[in-house]
């Protein structure tokens, strides 16, 4: 009885000190906080894995809850940004409760990350709950080319790569460079445990051309579209505003001939992960021209994903403002 009490007290004190440290160190953008820079590293991930191994799943989840709460309550500006992002989807849910829950689910994602690490690669499929629309993936494969799997920062999206690999699809994940080369490499090595390859967009100006070759050869390419790379975006409607969405999926599709499938992973109340694949989209050149083609098909992709964000705003993880002014020009066109 006394040991759990001591452990809980220690956890609480550590978390409070960490929270105070985060509060003192952060200056606006969460990425500027020293603690973020120190912890968002391979060592930080290994620390989470170590804690998960020694605390067990239940206690790790409790710790994640505590850390998420402390983070939320000490990061006022970030919490406000989360609330504004949720308000774009559903103003009724843009309250403190949903915003704090958003921080907690993100903290829990790190525990899920550790879960992936410590269990055998073949156990990945046991993490899945409801599966919707997976026939779309087989349909895409039957077309003889690869497929572009587009998702957002929703749920524990990192699970998607290992799941696809376990289902027998050759998968390549596109990422932006992490804050350090060491972390980029560590995360690439992590995915490689399941045979999920990583391509870092931006390293080489012609990397995207290589990706189109992969698509022609049958690779399934996964990327996030709701926090776009630089300015290659178009504005898309969400229920109460607009956000920028990447045009990269449509460009890759037009060049490779591979279809697009919008997908989402959502944490269910029982802790398992629901996978949703929406109907396949096959972009083609429209007579109105290139800009119109990019806009229209990117809107179609967004229209399949946004209802998932709306239904689960507490799992849509964006800690900086996403909303764009309606008067902003479309920068990519």
């Amino acid at each position: 009885m006394i040991v759990p009490l001591i452990a809980a007290s220690f956890g609480l004190c550590t978390t409070a000190l960490l929270g105070l440290f985060i509060y003192r160190q952060s200056a606006g953008d969460y990425r500027n906080a020293t603690v973020y820079k120190k912890l968002y590293t391979p060592r930080g991930f290994l620390l989470v894995i170590y804690l998960r191994q020694h605390l067990g799943r239940t206690n790790s989840k409790r710790l994640a809850l505590l850390l998420g709460l402390v983070y939320a309550l000490t990061q006022f500006k970030t919490l406000q940004a989360i609330r504004r992002n949720i308000a774009l989807l559903d103003p009724d849910k843009a309250d403190l409760s949903h915003a704090i829950r958003n921080c907690v689910t993100q903290a829990e994602n790190f525990i899920e990350f550790a879960e992936l690490w410590i269990h055998s690669t073949s156990s990945v499929l046991s993490k899945l709950g409801n599966r919707t629309g997976l026939d779309q993936l087989e349909k895409a494969r039957s077309l003889g080319k690869g497929c572009i799997l587009v998702t957002g920062h929703l749920g524990f999206f990192e699970l998607g790569g290992p799941v696809m690999a376990e289902l027998g699809f050759p998968i390549l994940t596109l990422t932006l460079p992490e804050p350090s080369e060491a972390l980029t490499q560590w995360r690439a090595d992590f995915r490689m445990r399941w045979g999920v390859r990583t391509a870092v967009v931006g390293d080489d100006a012609f990397s995207a051309v290589e990706i189109t070759r992969e698509l022609r050869n049958g690779t399934f390419v996964a990327l996030l579209a709701d926090r776009p790379f630089h300015s290659h975006t178009v504005p898309v409607d969400v229920p109460h505003g607009q956000i920028a969405f990447s045009t990269a999926p449509v460009l890759l599709s037009l060049l490779s001939g591979a279809p697009i499938i919008p997908v989402g992973l959502i944490v269910q109340p029982d802790g398992k992960h629901q996978i949703v694949a929406r109907p396949m989209i096959v972009p083609r050149w429209l007579p109105e021209g290139r800009a119109y083609t990019l806009q229209k098909f990117t809107e179609l992709v967004a229209a399949e994903l946004i209802p998932l964000f709306v239904a689960h705003p507490e799992q849509w993880h964006h800690f900086t403002d996403l909303g764009i002014s309606l008067s902003s020009p479309s920068s990519a066109l």
Partner: protein, 90 residues
């Protein structure tokens, strides 16, 4: 020459300006300006993709691998020459 197969520096520069978010003054770009890489004008991988998509749409010529892209898109003059060779052999 069909306007669709005409390959002039002006047309190629127009494609460049229309498809990329340039970080330099458009007037400073000449036919010999290096477009990509360390000595380039700051274009990224999606800029490359947009240019390639536009070239394919206008001229019907595909650039399927990074090596060819790197060779063809070095500068507007090299791109002009590369396209002319492929259009005459098509």
């Amino acid at each position: 020459m069909d306007s669709k197969t005409e390959v002039s520096i002006e047309i190629l520069k127009g494609i460049l300006l229309e498809n990329t978010m340039l970080q330099v003054d458009a007037d400073s770009i000449t036919q010999d300006t290096i477009l990509f890489g360390e000595h380039g004008i700051g274009l990224d991988s999606l800029d490359a993709l947009q240019i390639i998509v536009s070239l394919e749409k206008r001229y019907g010529i595909e650039i399927k691998d990074p090596e060819t892209a790197r060779e063809a898109l070095e500068s507007l003059a090299i791109l002009q020459s590369w396209l002319q060779k492929r259009l005459t052999s098509a």
